[in-house]
Symmetry: C2
Subunit: 275 residues, 2 copies
Amino acid sequence: MSDEATAFVPGHVTGFFTVSEDDDPTKAGSQGAGLALTDGVEVTVRPADEREMYLDGASIDVEPVERVLDALDADAVVTAESELPLGSGFGVSGALSLGTALAANRALGLALSENELVTIAHGAEVQSGTGLGDVVAQARGGVPIRLEPGGPQHNLLDAVPARARVEYVTFGELDTEAVLGGETDPIDEAGERALSRVVREPTLSSFIFASRRFAREAELLSERVGEAIQDVSEAGGQASMAMLGETVFALGTGLTDAGYDPEVCATHPAGAMLR
Amino acid sequence: MSDEATAFVPGHVTGFFTVSEDDDPTKAGSQGAGLALTDGVEVTVRPADEREMYLDGASIDVEPVERVLDALDADAVVTAESELPLGSGFGVSGALSLGTALAANRALGLALSENELVTIAHGAEVQSGTGLGDVVAQARGGVPIRLEPGGPQHNLLDAVPARARVEYVTFGELDTEAVLGGETDPIDEAGERALSRVVREPTLSSFIFASRRFAREAELLSERVGEAIQDVSEAGGQASMAMLGETVFALGTGLTDAGYDPEVCATHPAGAMLR
């Protein structure tokens, strides 16, 4: 096989998380929970002599994608179309990495397993400092709970058995690497409290409540994001912040009811998949 | 919450398997691999004072569903519509069990996690003798490889990262309990050989090749099923037997090309989901 192949990877907003460092990138990662989204990224891989990468028509360098292609020893043109902005807490870099791995495996006839491809994409994200838990959540779909960090050989996943309409508004970018490169103790402590709440009661309400509290306790809330969450609460809805981006997400019609003009999608019940 | 809720569970044909007994039903189960199917079962649960269960409009008793309702301490009317025949190797009893667990959790506001619900449905199947690996595969979707047996707390899953059109023809029923109740050494030996082949090369071709060889080596092939597989091979296609049913499944247009008039579906990329 040497045709092109396309994979779709759902977006993923993390509601809360902890940071687990490890020298082995397949063990490093994060605990936490989030929502896999029907808005996502479509990645097409075509074997070629020289590597090129395009996102929404523009040439781009994405370190974890380079690392995935290195790990697969693959030269290819990677063309991605994203319904979601980069750097705003939607797991776009994770989606690019995982989509490249899945599509390259098929386009180049590499015969790797799903876990192997997820492991490669997860490790590439961790080593690039661009994400810790998006890839494994995007591979699962739904409303994943990351009980233990790492790639598929080491982690432990569960999920909230629910679906929801999801609205979101993005005010700008946050640099994942800068936030995760700093002091993470307050994040870890708040993340562990949030996780034990959701484990005790794995429902959407408890997820969004725990996420909102985490954002405040971990001191990650910007003014604009805090205001929007407050607006949604006052309108009787449920919202929190997408980690890590200047993005507010709400369940149901939370942002609309509060007078915002949000993008609308839903939880994506499946994980990443070949087209 | 006390409204009704509906879940869809994909069908699942197992290509090959091993039998792992254990006193703890969450550890018992099987290794193996199969295809989750877009043809499946829709299960609606409505809270009620007395338990009733209907499949395609007819009253029916399904032991694992009873066990699921017992485990959830739930009284409800369970109404299921199946695109697939019972007792023919499509995991319909697993689908009924898992669909009941997911829908009851929502209808009755039980706040259990996905893993907890899958564990209950898996355990109910094992204790009823109606299945060993369908439930965990149906919860994952795609082309699941069961590397280690048991429910989500104990097993280890991987998958073939691929999608396919799937055709099938059913000649009749096989009694899972009768087959699994007998001598399983030849099954286990053949199943382990098939699994190591698919682990070495996790592709659809290798899955179907390993499945066909397993069916022969484990001596589970009936004459009619063997003939149909042979017909597909002679027409240049790939088919094997659904474990455990008098059912032949083929990739692509295998059965059509061999002159059969099959049902047509595809691999279902998502696992079981609420509607």
